[in-house]
Symmetry: C2
Subunit: 410 residues, 2 copies
């Protein structure tokens, strides 16, 4: 039974332009029971640099372990992603499937195994026959094209209710550069898991170590600044590939001033994709932005923001359209970061509710109650003790979440 | 609108015997809008030792701050607890109310201010008139009695659906000693908070520093081993008072061998109360025991257990009666403690599902599915890397939780 499209979904999938040196394809390979797209393949020109961020889970899946290994080299020629099966917790059988898939792609593209990246999402604990995915690659490679982004985005979905894509351009050294990204979020049907995958492609010429620095920094302010339910998948993967075909002089140092524009649009692109993931959170009816200022550090601000965004009490209050600032105080207190009750200030929808550790004199809840009835909720928390700031995004916790995660069963 | 009594509630409130040196009373003082009991008073004989564990929230309430101050002395003559108003985030006004309440009780019982303990639970951010509670104490003190435990337990409830009490006896040096405890849990109605309060009374003669060691250790394996939604209140308080009236020789060292029985029944009493709190978790329909063995340390085992018990994905799967062991793997992975995917073993209802990082050959879900339909769910996780073990308790995450926390509004 397909889930209804999230009420927070964007109007349409954006037009993703071709990127020099990148061809993509998406098709069905039989891992999803309903026969829909479940295999994504990307072919990258020789010379493509790779970087990425992987789950911190200590029970990471075989594909994640492989990506960690391959990223040490920082070169890429192919990306193979399947949905429908996470190949997680499948023991030695899972390792074998990864090896065979990698070997198949390396043969197809005449490259080293370490130039192939792999990700899997879907059912866990069910082994995929070792040659199943590798056997589908030759046929799929025939449909590789510069413009198949909608197919690509669809092929990595699990229970996402809409495909997620974004594109940005900037200039490096006066040369126009393009970035395309696709992502999948945390839609789940038992026994699937909340896996976040994202793949970014650009024609910029940036050496892998510099690309890694840029990707890590941008991820901290995007994918690491969202939460749906606070759960961490064994398979979370965000990779970026830079073909270097745009034509500017290659850049080796992430501090190079010519990267100013790229740094900015990369973060903007990842924030766009991250927000789309939140907008497709299970059962989400409200999109919540939480800005924390005045914290001891940016890191402390983010941790406080995520503690608020992860609190079931805060999230259910938002679902109930209840301006329950007391639960925000509670969440600030439990975050474990420096806070002073008597300096804490909270605003919802731009209306200051508390200052100096108590409710503002003559507080009128009317405008705040009206704001809570909207689809976009803004929460601002000022700690009043430092200059650290961060914004995080989450959604409300609704009956829909329970429906999807408790009542549905595949 | 009163909530229906939890389906996991015990059949009845236990008979709590008198404890030499302790008199208690419960009554209505007008803080709860519906006029039910909201003020608990305990009078303790001179010479009573006090110890306790308080919330780690960095936005702790004024009453918590006072208890922290008073516990440094370790002596007690009176306990004043109100429900209906948490006196949290009430700024200087909140501090004044605490001061006046303490002063009123100290005058009534002719004791030092630091011999009075106070706790408050209920609405936050709404100041209580400074003399409101103090003004009710003289009348309430007239009804102090050795047997008023049901009134006492009722007076500290917020949206708990049943009063929580337990009693145990043991011997110290051949002398019979009694412990009574009452608690309130995490029932909440906006804008209330998930506050846990518990008060333990005993006639044992144990010096305050030793009592503190015993209480801290027992709390770690009881109140700190339960979770309903992972949220931490600004007001969590668990206090123990020892009147010394049982008649045995006073004990000053927590390592004293004569305390063996007391240590055991104290933990048992706190586990009983802690489990009652879980059984009254908002919307709870299933009581879940999670035992983690083979971890690197007991601390690691508890953290892994609580990460499983806090996972919305695990809790919704249990609500859906789905033996979704993949989500347990996910939670183990995100706990941040040492784990080896290929040594992890998971059993539900005593049936081993995974071993050596994969599903056991010929796994038959039938008996596990039957277990999931029951009211008591047992999850066992073995990490296979050490000797650390812990048991934690939680409940499922149901539509009832959303109803109580989103849809109800006081």
């Amino acid at each position: 039974m397909p889930l209804p499209i999230s009420p927070l979904a964007p109007a349409r999938f954006p037009d993703l332009p071709p990127i020099a040196g990148v061809r993509v394809a998406g098709a069905a390979c039989g891992l999803k029971r309903n026969g829909s797209h479940d295999l994504f393949l990307a072919a990258l020109d020789p010379g493509t640099a790779a970087a990425g961020v992987l789950t911190r889970s200590l029970c990471s899946s075989a594909p994640v372990d492989w990506c960690r290994h391959a990223l040490a080299r920082g070169r890429a020629r192919a990306v193979v992603v399947n949905s429908g099966n996470a190949n997680a917790f499948t023991g030695k059988a899972g390792d074998t499937t990864v090896e065979r898939t990698i070997a198949g792609a390396a043969e197809l593209f005449d490259c080293a195994a370490e130039e192939v990246y792999i990700a899997s999402t879907g059912v866990i604990g069910v082994p995929v026959p070792p040659d199943h995915i590798a056997g589908k690659l030759p046929a799929l490679s025939k449909s590789l094209a510069a413009g198949s982004w909608p197919d690509a985005a669809a092929a990595i979905m699990t229970t996402d209710t809409f495909p997620k894509g974004a594109t940005r351009t900037c200039t490096i050294d006066g040369v126009r550069v393009t970035l395309n990204g696709i992502a999948k979020g945390s839609g789940m049907i038992a026994p699937d898991m909340a896996t976040m995958l994202s793949f970014i492609f650009t024609d910029a010429a940036i050496a892998a170590p510099a690309l890694q620095k840029l990707m890590s920094a941008a991820t901290d302010r995007s994918f690491n600044a969202i939460t749906v339910d606070g759960d961490t998948s064994t398979s979370d993967t965000a990779l970026i590939f830079a073909t270097g075909r745009a034509g500017h002089e290659p850049i080796a140092d992430h501090r190079d001033r010519r990267l100013g524009g790229f740094r900015k649009v990369l973060e903007d692109l990842l924030v766009d994709l991250a927000q789309q993931i939140v907008r497709d959170g299970e059962g989400a009816r409200k999109f919540v932005s939480i800005t924390v200022t005045g914290a001891a550090s940016a890191r402390a601000a983010r941790r406080i923001g995520l503690t608020i965004g992860n609190s079931p009490l805060v999230k259910t209050a938002i679902a109930g359209e209840d301006a329950n600032w007391g639960r925000i105080v509670m969440a600030v207190g439990k975050a474990g970061e420096k806070a002073d009750r008597d300096k804490l200030s909270i605003a919802i929808g731009g209306v200051t509710i508390t200052e100096n550790g108590q409710i503002v004199p003559g507080y009128d809840e009317t405008p705040v109650a009206a704001h809570m009835k909207g689809q976009d909720i803004d929460i601002q928390v000022d700690l009043g003790i430092g200059r650290g700031r961060a914004t995080v995004w989450t959604c409300d916790l609704t009956h829909g979440y329970i429906d999807i995660n408790a009542d549905y069963r595949s």
